[in-house]
């Protein structure tokens, strides 16, 4: 009898502990009292998350983490990076091992709803594409009937590829390969006609070839891959903070607020929205539970969206990505952040 009670007690305690995990609200307090933001990042993806000579993490996704840390703690370096693979990223977030996940994660219904996660926006609109040799004489992915395709196994790209060829009534021969680097090498060694992965990866791949001009990225993009940062379900205040840091970076580009001029503009300008964002007007920081100059810190960390994009993945980097869909709505893209008011 005593043992059953003991066992019941243990199960109850466990259930309470587990419930505590899922319904735990107050990430902001936790982060502030720890003085450090735990940010989940990729194990290494060109341009998005990689290390420099000193072993410091840097990249497009890392820059977002630094902006959040700056907004919440006033210090872009107050971060503990938790490196996560495709398989460990969601459990780590669900279990509270990290506070925010910025790991080029595609926003899908099942992840948003079923996994109990909250996507706070999109920081990069990606999509699956193809690269092939110009010598092949093909100018469009719809002419690829009978082609052999190098593909990384176990990813959604496999499914997208099958769907694309089936809807266009074409045949193809898949050449399955384990990692991205191997797939690239296989394509370069002529083991397949075309290579398919996300468009950002294709551009990066093309840049590494000895003769980039001999290859062409076909215009078709066969899937939607909106990549964005995410947080746990159940803490709306924290999700709001993560969402508005991203929005602030985008709006900063729209309004011409840069890393260089943000301090000066924070003193007050003629532009009401800049004033509201940077805290010289209204009490928007307070609504979020942050200091009034949170956005100043966030923008000062790595600059606005355009500066971050250009520094890590833009046309002047080795990845050489164009803004494309990721341009502001007024420049022909679909980047559109709700206003500060």
């Amino acid at each position: 009898m005593r043992t059953t009670n003991w066992a019941k007690g243990a199960v109850m305690a466990l259930a309470i502990a587990m419930a505590g995990v899922s319904a735990h609200a107050g990430t902001l307090e936790d982060v502030q009292s720890a003085g450090v933001l735990k940010c989940g990042i990729n194990t290494g993806l060109a341009g998005f998350a990689y290390t420099d000579d000193m072993g410091t993490w840097t990249g497009f996704d890392v820059a977002y983490c630094r902006a959040v840390a700056a907004a919440v703690l006033g210090d872009p370096d107050a971060i503990e990076f938790v490196v996560l693979t495709g398989k460990t990223r969601f459990p780590a977030l669900q279990a509270g091992e990290i506070d925010v996940l910025a790991r080029n994660t595609t926003w899908t219904l099942s992840r948003d709803v079923d996994l109990g996660l909250t996507f706070v926006g999109v920081n990069y609109y990606d999509g699956q594409g193809f690269i092939g040799r110009k010598a092949l004489g093909v100018m469009s992915a719809t002419e690829l009937d009978g082609a052999s395709v190098c593909i990384q196994t176990g990813t959604t790209t496999e499914l997208n590829l099958a769907d694309f060829f089936r809807t266009n009534n074409m045949e193809y021969e898949p050449v399955p390969i384990e990692t991205n680097a191997e797939a690239r090498a296989a394509y370069e060694a002529d083991r397949c006609d075309v290579y398919t992965t996300d468009a950002s990866g294709l551009a990066a791949t093309k840049a590494t070839f000895d003769d980039p001009d001999a290859h062409i990225v076909y215009p078709e993009v066969i899937s939607k891959e909106p990549l964005g940062p995410l947080v746990r379900h159940g803490d709306d205040q924290w999700a709001d903070i993560a969402r508005w840091v991203l929005n602030a970076l985008i709006i900063a580009e729209e309004l011409g607020v840069t890393q260089g001029n943000v301090e000066r503009l924070a003193g007050g300008t003629d532009h009401p929205e800049i004033n509201r964002m940077l805290g010289s007007e209204g009490s928007y920081g307070e609504m979020l539970g942050l200091a009034s100059d949170w956005a100043v810190h966030a923008i000062k960390a790595e600059g606005n969206y355009a500066e971050i994009f250009d520094r890590y993945i833009g046309p002047d980097t080795r990845l050489g990505l164009q803004r494309g869909l990721n341009a502001l709505y007024k420049d022909g893209g679909i980047l559109y952040a709700p206003p500060f008011r």
Binding site: L45, G55, T88
Partner: protein
């Protein structure tokens, strides 16, 4: 008349002076003949091997050394036809120490230096001060842990900053040091008469051995996480080391059980007749013989375990292989260092594994009391 039968031998009255062996049997020529050209088949194999070497070695040397680039700040500057080694200069510390803070590299180096006598006292007898040396070896893990992790007045370094080859060494050596005693206990447990002990050992061995290591690592990383309170996490390194140790202990116990099986039961009975207790019997009679027989299998497991430490890359720790992959994604080096980084990592592993294998051969010779 019949002549007397001629003797079919006669005494030689002088000795034939010794002559040198034919040139085809000694020296370089003789060696070549006996080892490389002793039959038409061996000649064929020799020629084929020479052709193969000629086709492989010069291009390989050309790629790795003669046509290689050794200096430069980014991959762009690697323009030669051969390998690109320019990254080694700026990245070697990360390949060796991972994210360990550079100002504390000396602690890793000191720990490594202290390891040499600690290992030596375990592996070789006839060293001076052997009695104290054993105690030193036993206490080395504590010393190393304090040096690497910190505490007791030394700056703390979180274990998730461990990386590079140091991580492989820490995880591998800890696994090796722990899996042998645990493996011996499991092997004895499996042969024990007490059902509780026997079944516990069998279940542990079969469950752990029946699951791939990578699955165990995922269990350690993902499932364990769900049972811990938020923002509290047992260090990943600890979880990984526990799993690697458990895994190789299971294999080790079966290797040792193989050795135990081969000891004739007469040894056991004789030891009992001498009035030895169970533990004395094992320590003085059975285990010394069983372990000696198991040496090749034990070292085999050690080498496998050491190489298995690279699996930590799948759970987001950056051992030397992880560092190699990380560098491959750096925009400055992308597409230029895919082969070179792996080659360097392979070299590190080869040196360690080859040394282990040589030591095991040496140990076998030293302990060989039967076939001499």
């Amino acid at each position: 008349m019949k002549s007397a039968p001629r003797p079919f031998f006669r005494n030689r009255d002088q000795m034939i002076p010794g002559r040198p062996a034919p040139v085809t049997q000694v020296g370089v020529l003789g060696w070549l003949r006996t080892n490389l050209f002793s039959s038409w088949f061996n000649t064929l194999l020799t020629v084929a091997a020479l052709v193969l070497l000629w086709r492989i070695v010069p291009p390989l040397l050309g790629w790795t050394v003669f046509n290689a680039d050794f200096s430069g700040e980014t991959g762009e500057e690697c323009t030669a036809a051969g390998a690109c080694w320019a990254w080694v200069d700026q990245r070697i510390n990360q390949f060796l120490y991972g994210f360990y803070p550079p100002r504390a590299y000396w602690r890793v180096n000191v720990a490594l230096l202290l390891l040499i006598p600690a290992v030596a006292y375990v592996l070789f007898d006839k060293l001076p001060y052997a009695k104290y040396g054993r105690w030193y070896s036993l206490s080395y893990p504590v010393i190393a842990a304090i040096l690497l992790i910190g505490g007791f007045g030394i700056e703390r370094v979180p274990t998730d900053q461990f990386g590079g080859f140091m991580l492989n060494l820490v995880a591998g050596l800890a696994g090796i040091a722990l899996s042998l005693p645990i493996g011996i206990l499991l092997a004895l447990g499996r042969r024990a008469k007490l059902p509780v002990v026997r079944y516990a050992s069998v279940i542990f061995i079969e469950v752990v051995r029946g699951v791939p290591l990578i699955t165990l690592l995922f269990v350690a990383i993902i499932i364990l996480e769900l049972f811990l309170p938020p923002r509290v996490s047992l260090a990943q390194l600890v979880r990984v080391m526990v799993m690697i140790t458990a895994f190789s202990s299971a294999y080790m116990s079966e290797v040792i059980r193989g050795g135990l099986q081969s000891i004739p039961s007469g040894q056991d009975e004789a030891a009992q007749a001498m009035g030895l207790s169970y533990w004395k019997k094992m320590r003085l009679v059975i285990l010394p013989q069983a372990l000696k027989i198991s040496i090749p299998g034990i070292v085999n497991t050690f080498i496998g375990l050491f190489k298995d430490t690279t699996l930590v890359v799948t759970i987001g720790l950056f051992d030397i292989l992880g560092q190699a992959r990380l560098l491959q994604t750096n925009p400055d080096w992308i597409g230029k260092v895919d082969h070179e980084t792996f080659l360097l990592a392979a070299l590190f592993f080869f040196v360690i594994c080859f040394s282990m294998s040589r030591y095991s051969i040496n140990l076998e010779r030293r302990l060989d009391t039967t076939r001499r």
